[in-house]
Amino acid sequence: MSAARRCCLLRALAGFFVWRLRNTGIPQIPCRFVHLHRVANDRLITFQYFNFLKRMLQQLDQEKKVVYKISPVSPVHQSWSETSSRNELREVKSAAETEDSVIPVGGESREDRRWKEMKVQLDDLPGILARLSKIKLTALVVSTASAGFAMAPVPFELTCFLFTSLGTGLASCAANSINQFFEVPFDSNMNRTKNRPLVRGQISPLLAVCFAASCGIPGIALLTLGVNSLTGALGAFNIFLYTCCYTPLKRMSIANTWVGAVVGAIPPIMGWTAATGSLDAGALLLGGILYSWQFPHFNALSWGLREEYSRGGYCMMSVTHPGLCRRVALHHCFALIGLSTVAPVLDITTWTFPIISLPINLYISYLGFRFYRDADRSSSRKLFFCSLWHLPMLLLVMFTCKKSVLEKEDKGDLRGGSHEMALEIRLP
């Protein structure tokens, strides 16, 4: 259970529409976000996120203790009584309540209070819709899109930036809502996701679909008409990829992980195309960095969620191909080093970027190697937690090492003589 929850947290961090882990307790959507543009905000959200993740992991630990406590069975073939068998994946505190539900006489008022009327309360609606759209994950996705926008080698335009962020955010809300709409019974069976609005009946499926349509259509329209058609097309494609490819594929084949990595890689590409209007090497490099990052992040997370994935019927590498899972994570840690080196070659950053980012890339590669060799819970946790701060830091370093547009235009004009100066913001 906790694993699923942890997975969710990780997913949310990873990027757009990443819903890797479903079953284990940790929320499937790890939120991985990088704030580049507003450092203060970035730090605040990262800090909040870390606290959220810590809480989830603590619950994960608690649940892990429960998971392996099995009720005694003498001969295997004896049928066990209903009252003695419990769902060990439930939280411990609900144990007393479940016993009450079997015996209708006692604790009736307590049971009655757990029944809720299925009527939409307007006061609760904003909170419900925020949870339906996975607002934290959406915020992270918008952050990666902003990172892509910020790294583009063009003068900064505020209106374009706002349109991109808003459009990406709306598209993300739509995709997340549809995902929850598809996965109600599966979410009910995982600790991380069992308190979602559709699972709890706080909102009807019809309302969820209407909300998704009312976010997705204006979002894509905003991107297409307010920014450019390439960004709009990428946004629509990403919604489709997430809802119609990744979500069903999670239950069919391990290929879902690669599809999910692409889903996470597209938002920074969208940010870049929004700024420049074209899909060039820089966009693909940024997308590549997000793509590679997804693997150590998700694979490490999924390592602890194997029980929930197995029970829920999710096809994940960590369950079916554990060796591949660790190998892929390690290879993509190395790929991050390679991609960081390619950045100055493509004139996106200066050569200080691969040098400054080498320590953090080497560290995550080292943890990836430990995970590959040891294949245990502690190494997977270390790798996962490293991935949480690794991406924000990498993108931040990338931003500070960004090659100034002014410098590119006029090589002779050295402002302050520093090659690492960030792009000057020119107001329209």
């Binding site: 209903e82 419990r86 709409f181 069976n189 239950r251 197995s310 369950v319 554990p322």
Partner: protein, 200 residues
Amino acid sequence: MAAARVLRPGGCRRPLLLSSASFSSSSSSSAASGGGSAAERGEQPDSAGLGFRPPAHSHSDWIGPPDKHSNLRPIIFYVPPEESALERRLREARQEAQASNQRFWARHNRAFRQEKEEFIYSRLKAKGLEMRDESGQKATLNAEEMAEFYKDFLTKNFKKHLQYNRDWYKRNFRITFLMGQVALVRALRWLRRRKKSVEQ
């Protein structure tokens, strides 16, 4: 009996259990008898052994705590006094889906628990250990040993999950489409009523 309940003014609650397969083993026997006697008494039928009866004045569905075995939340559907054919189709589709989901997940989770116990028992036996060690603590296997079981269980149930996914997606789309139709009909009815009252 069912017709009498529907036509009674004030509507009635259609407990999930009565129109579908057993909801939970402990409540199935009480369901039918409880429903029948309630109808004869002219009262609202009990929620078929779920231990809860929604208040009489409420005109909406009620959702309960997660089921012990399936982790799904049961819903008691409200049957309005003038339920149209479309609304009845929607309610029945939802009841059927809920019953089917309940059956699947209760069985599946039970099988998982049971097979896990068997696996642990057989592994401990092979190692020469008992289910409980000297201090009385339950013996467990570590994560890597359990991973073998998880992989096996997932592969074994793969086809079952594919079939269930197909069913679930179909049902979900159908229910949502019916909800849309019902909402549209209700909205048009409301608009017509408003137009009439404005004209008057």
